[in-house]
Amino acid sequence: MIKDARSVADGSRIKTDLCVIGGGPAGISIAREFIARGLQVCLLEAGGLEYDDGTQALYKGENIGHPYYDLNVLRLRFLGGGTNHWGGWCLPLDSIDFEARPGIPDSGWPIDFEHLEPFYRRAAEVCNAGEYDYDPQRWEDESQPRLALAEDKFLSAVMKRAQTFFGQFYRDELDRSSNIHLYLYANVVELETDSNARSVKSVRVATLQGARFHVDAKVFVLATGGIENPRLLLASNKVQSAGLGNGNDLVGRFFMEHLMVPGAMFLPADPTFSLAYYEEPLSESVMGTGFLRVAPELMRDKKLLNARLLVMPGMAQELAMKESAGVSSATLLWGAVRAGRSPGDLSLHIANVIGDLDKIAIYSYRRAFRSPADPVSLKYEIEQAPDPESRVTLGPELDALGTPRVRLNWKFGDLERRTLRQVSEALAIEVGRAGLGRIQIVDDDETGWPPGLRGSWHQMGTTKMNADPAHGVVDTDCRVHGVANLFIAGSSVFPTSGTSNPTMTIVALALRLSDHIKGLFQQGM
């Protein structure tokens, strides 16, 4: 049933079996697993059913690293969380993403793909992503062939698209449940522990309207996202001054994003070749698309991070080139110099050329070699390497409820840069070798970062999973090391990010955690 925390009596204590903090995809997935299971579950959502400015403002924070999105725009603080502005892309991580990879420090999960796959199958249902079928051959036919690239270099893959806003989709089911108590506008401001921080006793809840109350539970799950999860742990510092679960100074570190980069232009050799496989939809009835991923062999051989390439149909149309001012000027300049004369308006022509170099290069190549095809843009998404200096900490400012605001220092470096460059070069050579066309590496500079680089709205890694407490905040069961009854759900537990959109992995891990917690209660927790 759905309740309003603003109507809870100030100073009261709610007792429950399981307390789930956060009503996003992870929290909702876990709560649903306990419907009619004979346990009382309290699901605490900080926002309401819809967007609310006052609540959203609690997400404000400071970016001090690589330019990033405003932290109160990046996330949504109402039921459904990030799925309220979710693109809906669903796909599992790649098998190699779980491996400890030489050359990539702090890589490796304590579980492997085969272990997680059954939960992925269940997650596909929860996300309404259709049948769990990610075999790239399944979606190929004569009308939408895959690019014939060497399979030890680049592979075609597919992702599905769900249109499930978790808050909207599951609110009625949660409301009908008699044992799931969903509290809206319930902001958890502190996790309260016993005297030695070995277990959580209660959470302190505050509302913007002034009511304060506690929720006591046997088991707690923190599921508030990749930035709020470390924020709440760090802010819960009455017993452990560095923050709960932060005995090894790992909470908030290893913040990761997927680096989105406008990477390349593809000029197909055959203008009749269909790129439909790489454009939506996968079929008449299945929303989704194909993309190119870097083959594990290439990653291992070059010690590269994972990367994938998405075809962006239509984005290169302006480069499909009718004769532009720059092209005209370049041709005129060339002719004048050959003829040994100075063209009129020299500076104007040079300015045209400067402003139009991309068009000149592609225009010249296409005309010289009689290529009738239009160029196509490719967008890269690159895995970010785990980096302890890329981190979330608490800033000096307090929000309206007295909780320190976050400070994000997003950092990445040489490994990501090298991956971008070497994947670009490998793609250009492979496309040429296969006779499929030519590639222009948009970022041909080899220094700095392309101006269009940005994050993909995915926040991961800040409470990473590792069996060893010296290297991770949570253990293999997603339990906070050293705290008996506190678990974490969400992308903050990802040790590495791969390139796959994280929501389906978030849900798969949430379902796995649900099974584990069910087992604990069955054992008489």
């Binding site: 110099v337 050959r338 170099l357 000149i360 005309r367 050579i429 040429g432 070798r433 041909d444």
Partner: protein
């Protein structure tokens, strides 16, 4: 503007680049054997738009060390002397034979040229360079 684009622009427009390509090219062309001259002319016919090929070729030549030598380029692109001689009675179609395969082989073996970010085979870049020098 990224460094490589700036470099391309400078290659394209700098006096030294053009001086190397044009006057040098003229003198090189003047001393070509007749069969090589015919082969070079056929290369021009290979292109849909020779002026565009010359722009690409000029950029390629500008990025290479050493003098621009159309004879050497012809020998590189058509290493078989008989092939060059064959040019006297050959056609554009003959020249095109094997061109795709050679380009693919270039990529296979890492013989590529980068021009304004475009990754081209050495063979096609050299064909453009021959056009620029002819």
């Amino acid at each position: 503007m990224p460094q490589s684009r700036r470099r391309f622009l400078l290659l394209l427009l700098s006096a030294s680049s053009f001086a190397r390509v044009w006057p040098g090219g003229a003198s090189q062309a003047a001393v070509l054997e007749p069969e090589s001259r015919r082969a070079a002319e056929l290369v021009i016919e290979l292109f849909g738009h020779p002026e565009s090929a010359r722009i690409v070729g000029a950029a390629y030549l500008g990025a290479r060390p050493g003098p621009a030598d159309v004879g050497a380029l012809l020998r590189d692109v058509f290493p078989d002397a008989a092939c060059r001689t064959h040019g006297r009675t050959s056609s554009v179609r003959d020249l095109c034979i094997g061109f795709d395969e050679r380009s693919r082989s270039d990529f296979e073996n890492g013989r590529v040229a980068r021009i304004a970010g475009w990754v081209l085979s050495e063979t096609e870049a050299k064909l453009c360079a021959i056009a620029a020098l002819t």
